[in-house]
Symmetry: C2
Subunit: 400 residues, 2 copies
């Protein structure tokens, strides 16, 4: 079995188990450990209300080295006041204690229901039980991936290798997220491990760039959660010459990292709550990149369009409606829209397309919508997925 889990890069251990936080008895506690100390980068939600875990990890990411990440699912530890903060700190303290690290050298992440206190009588024994299970096997890596899931129906992980000089650098990532996914991180816990030799600030830059074109261009329901967290850890053990900012080697590493993030986003899109199809909205001819982004997001987030995709219905009028409603500058007489390569609307008027061909395009597992606003030379894109009755069922009953 090839290891393409988070334990694939050199110098990482992982574990995952059921601590009892989830009443279902599913796995809900994960540990990711770099015994030699990892250089770490992270991005967090821009929601004004953030979980206790995000508050603590924002502090701890400043540490020079990170020895572990402790994660629980089933409870977001958000909107839990001072007690929630104390609990998040205690998770770091307990983990650090087993590893002879400082609590500030441990990151913490939580995901699940908002507004309930963490059952620490389950979490702390969970951490204790995870320690002896730590290992670098694929199984250990997948156990970690499983422990971070909530309404996800599939494990999501991706693996890339890149040759830098004579060294083989490995990058592995796992992500959870199926709903409450808006751009700027998409609601998600994302953990990436690598063994590339790189400094902390350049690692942070690489993470920001890779996410900018992947998780930050993906929406399920347009909202960021209180808990979104992306963590990138490197053991630095690959043996490559340490990366520098403008080098070709850095660009090669960044390319692989970005590709891995896009792979994870596609997995998220197709496993989004109730989703059966995904799509990419490409905007061209915009007056600025910001306007292109805004228009692309307006289409990707528009419930009526998402329903039409679910029905395999080439209802392009809803695309035009969403673009027009988004407030961006456009030229009605030049506005055009394609489904994959099929023009359905050109220079402000419908084309004489074959509806069966259009329906076939929209019914694919993935398709691309291209809209030309006809006013400028800028573009951007967004990934999205369909909206199904199943999404409603999942989210009407999540609470209790």
């Amino acid at each position: 079995m090839r290891n393409d889990s988070v334990t694939a890069p050199q110098g990482f251990w992982a574990a995952g188990l059921a601590s009892g936080v989830k009443v279902s008895g599913n796995a809900d506690l994960g540990l990711l450990v770099c015994p030699t100390g990892a250089t770490a980068a992270a991005m967090f939600t821009t929601n004004r209300i953030v979980s206790a875990a995000v508050q603590i990890s924002r502090e701890h990411i400043e540490s020079r080295k990170v020895y572990a990440v402790v994660v629980n699912s089933g409870n977001a530890n958000a909107c839990t006041g001072k007690r929630g903060l104390a609990n998040a700190r205690q998770m770091c303290e307990a983990t650090a204690g087993y590893l002879a690290a400082s609590p500030r050298e441990v990151l913490v992440a939580s995901t699940g229901i908002i507004g309930h206190q963490l059952p620490m009588e389950k979490v702390l024994p969970g951490i204790a039980n995870a320690i002896p299970r730590l290992g670098d096997s694929p199984k250990a890596g997948l156990a970690f991936a499983k422990a971070i899931m909530t309404t996800d129906t599939r494990l999501k992980h991706a693996y890339r290798e890149v040759k830098l000089a004579r060294a083989t650098v490995k990058i592995a990532g796992t992500v959870k997220g199926a709903g409450m996914i808006g751009p700027n991180l998409a609601t998600t816990l994302l953990f990436i491990t690598t063994d590339v030799a790189i400094g902390k600030s350049l690692l942070q830059k690489a993470l920001r760039e890779a996410i900018g074109g992947s998780l930050n261009r993906f929406t399920v329901d347009g909202h960021q959660s209180t808990n979104d967290t992306a963590i990138l850890l490197t053991s630095g053990l690959a043996g490559n010459p340490r990366l520098t900012g403008q080098s070709a080697a850095y660009q090669k590493f960044l390319g692989a990292l970005a590709d891995l993030c896009t792979d994870l986003v596609r997995q998220m899109a197709l496993d989004a709550e109730g989703a059966t199809r995904m799509f990419k909205v490409v905007i061209k001819g915009a007056a600025s990149i910001a306007e292109a982004t805004k228009a692309a997001r307006a289409v990707a987030d528009y419930p009526l369009f998402k329903c039409a995709v679910h029905g395999g219905d080439p209802n392009w009028g809803r695309i035009i409606c969403a673009v027009g409603s988004s407030g961006v500058d456009l030229n009605p007489a030049k506005l055009s829209c394609k489904l994959d390569d099929l023009y359905v609307f050109r220079n402000g008027a419908p084309t004489d397309f074959n509806p069966k061909v259009a329906a076939r395009i929209v019914s694919q597992r993935e398709h691309t919508i291209t809209v030309d606003l006809g006013v400028g030379r800028f573009g951007d894109f967004y990934y999205g997925c369909d909206l199904s009755a199943e999404y409603v069922r999942i989210n009407a009953d999540y609470h209790t």
Copy 2:
């Protein structure tokens, strides 16, 4: 039978019938006529892409008098290019011809699928057939209300009377709209008739004010359509002293008009596609009215929250998440949230509320969510409705 349809105010005739635009054979063509010539006010969608009907009516509303409004449902006549514009003009010309009016004295409105040319071979005979059916009976008014419906499951109309000096002023309205409803008009065709004596510019001001606190504070799926149109016609026949801007009589009329609009919004919310419940989101303690509006809309539009309401689930974490994600200024340590009168979150921490009581509140036909942002003294509100699996079914299959 009391007449509370659009023919109730003095001086209006109406008709509605099936012209064949809808393949279902349901009514799809309506005429509203003021034989003595009405003073008219209107508001239109702010979508950058507007239907041919909106383009024509925006010109025609400048006329001093309006003799008729011709409406079709089943086809939006939007994104239909020059031919669509010619067809909308032709609808006005045909109607004007039967009434010895100028085409510029006729308004036109369309609603339905986007991007298909109007079948004029059905629309024109439909107008001809509607003329002899015009009448001022309740039945004629309701036939008009029926002809403007698309996915609406119920006729929506409201009626108010107001005494001004010795005159009884009547106001009646009918609205269609069940999906593609975002604020700034909500997607809708709204027709209000009255017999108040008032000048054109003050009538326009009254319409703007009445809609500002009703249709512009209501969202189903956050998008304006290409066709949103609100038309207010007065025959001026009530016999009241002509209203002036700052008078108590104007305020009394405006109060009744605004109340009628709010009544129609409630009917729309409870008949929104697949909706089973409605709610009002009230924001307090905001740094500005604009921020309060933004936060209220963020909650009302948030799919996860709408799903929770559908499930009767007091998942207040999603309310806090939406507010935090909206980008408005807030104080996490003072943030509070109530469901009706029950505090579920106070000063940044969950309260010890009874979940059964909370579930009972959320399971009502209507409830109010109040969020205090804790930073200022401004507030605003938004109406919304739940998101159901039925909404998806309706909108996945609308096209063909």
